[in-house]
């Protein structure tokens, strides 16, 4: 973080090239730390409901890499070129006020993911306390889980008071948990390979192709929904070229690899939580080690998530000038509330949460990709992104770009028509195409067509490079 000013560190302002000092390794470690959390186990668990180990591994890894590719192409070119976060990168498509929509999606995504992480960590801690017989008298999981979640929120808050410097320092320490995860996977596979090889998924549909496609879909939606994290991390890299391999391998492949733990765990031991099954495989010492791993992994990821969300909120004029500590409180409060009030309800609805992420983020990625590579031919005006003048080329209809709104709506409808996020009931060509990919494609096509139809007044041409008068 050499040369990064305190102002830029805690604002949504663009970073100058001299401030973007993260090389490929630094970026890969930060992204790997962000991705490699216990959500991987839950993602793997859901794939393990439908597919056996080898098929699940193939489908989930393929889906993760595809989702990562889409999220990268959507956010990275603009974020890396100008050193801005993912939310700022949506202003060219959604307009001077329309970016509030992606911002809301980002907030929901980050609050959801981080609530999940902290609840998972708290549940693991509770489980271990029960196992070791150190649970305080008169207390149970109902009290410990919310309390542990609130404690974690407080620690994250204190760490992030230092801005991105806190993210850097913590990722330096926590990068070690990725190899530990690989060791856990090795342990499970080496001890239980014969069982794992023949284990059958419990919720598999009779339709083999549907199961396979659902494994791919889960991978796509999981990694694509980390679109906010990509922008927040990539803005620290000097350019998009530096970020390609770190994003695809450090985040996409690492997620897939650690998700295999969840697939294997649910198939053989009926639990994706390593702190539970490692006790079965290796005894209490392994369980303690796993808990430390789970805690460390969640902590690093939650810190990155809260930081990304806080930077995204800075784009709101009302929050531009509030102190960093207040902004952090605003960002972390929803996570704390979910963790304290409805931990079990939220945890049990993870599948629906994942699918709802696909509903929103697939069209968003399609729109951004079409805008940057097709409509703008890679020309973006950084001044227009931050302009406040009513004559700004970003002001379309009341600050909203109708092309983006229509495309987003159409993409959501396409997704919902193909896959019901609540019941996972599917229709049409879902089993051949997934739901995310058609949603992204339809949104992209709709965005280009409507933009061209509406012309330069409300379409995207006015948002192109414009010299200041």
């Amino acid at each position: 973080m050499v040369g990064l000013s305190a102002e830029a560190d805690k604002s949504a302002w663009p970073l100058l090239p001299a401030e973007r000092t993260w090389g490929a390794w630094r970026l890969a470690i930060a992204l790997g730390t962000a991705a490699a959390a216990t959500w991987c186990y839950i993602i793997g668990e859901y794939v393990g409901y439908y597919l056996n180990f080898l098929q699940g591994a193939a489908a989930l890894t393929a889906g993760s890499m595809i989702g990562m590719l889409l999220a990268f192409l959507a956010a990275a070119p603009i974020c890396a070129r100008f050193g801005i976060d993912s939310i700022a990168s949506t202003k060219p498509q959604f307009g001077a006020r329309g970016w509030i929509i992606p911002s809301a999606m980002q907030l929901i995504s980050i609050v959801g993911w981080n609530s999940l992480l902290l609840i998972f960590g708290a549940k693991s801690a509770t489980q271990l306390m029960l196992t070791l017989g150190v649970m305080p008298l008169g207390l149970g999981a109902r009290q410990i889980v919310p309390a542990a979640t609130l404690l974690a929120c407080a620690l994250i808050y204190l760490t992030l008071l230092r801005g991105a410097t806190g993210v850097t320092k913590i990722s330096n320490i926590l990068a070690a948990h990725v190899p530990i995860g690989c060791w856990m996977l090795y342990l499970l596979i080496s001890h239980r390979w014969p069982e794992l090889r023949v284990a059958q998924p419990t919720l598999a549909s009779p339709d083999r192709l549907w199961n396979y496609t659902t494994g791919v879909e889960i991978g796509i939606t999981a990694t694509m929904s980390w679109w906010p994290y990509i922008g927040a991390m990539i803005r620290m890299a000097p350019n998009a070229r530096t970020a390609v391999v770190p994003v695809m391998l450090g985040m996409g492949a690492a997620t897939a690899l650690l998700s295999l733990i969840g697939i294997a765990g649910i198939l053989v031991l009926k639990s994706s939580d390593p702190s539970q099954w490692l006790r079965t495989v290796g005894g209490p010492a392994y369980a303690i080690l796993a808990l430390v791993f789970v805690t460390a992994a969640n902590f690093g990821t939650a810190i990155t998530g809260i930081y990304s969300s806080a930077i995204g909120l800075r784009n709101f004029a009302a929050l531009e000038r509030v102190s960093w500590s207040t902004l952090l409180l605003i960002t972390i409060a929803p996570v704390a509330l979910v963790g304290a009030l409805i931990p079990e309800l939220f945890f049990s609805r993870f599948g629906a949460f994942l699918a709802f992420l696909g509903v929103g983020f697939a069209p968003l990625c399609g729109i951004q990709i079409a805008d940057y590579f097709v409509l703008r031919a890679r020309v973006v005006d950084i001044r227009a992104i931050y302009g406040r003048d009513p004559a700004s080329p970003h002001l379309t209809i009341a600050g909203f770009n109708p092309a983006a709104l229509l495309a987003l709506s159409l993409g959501c409808l396409v997704y919902l028509n193909l896959l019901n996020p609540l019941s996972y009931a599917s229709s049409g060509p879902y089993r051949f195409l997934t739901a995310s990919l058609p949603a992204a494609l339809c949104a992209a096509i709709c965005y280009v067509l409507v933009s061209k139809l509406l012309g330069p007044r409300t379409g995207t041409r006015l948002l192109q490079r414009r010299r200041p008068e």
Partner: protein, 51 residues
Amino acid sequence: MADQLPTELARRIEALERQGGEGDLNLRSWFWLILFGVATPAALLLWGWWA
């Protein structure tokens, strides 16, 4: 427009405008993206289907 922006933000924008489109994706970047985002998933899906 720049008059309404904080001085530091305006300075940053001017510096970035001078930079132009440097550092955008090049052929090598596209190679890695297609390898990891298209070819690898396609190979995995084929392998997994018959696994």
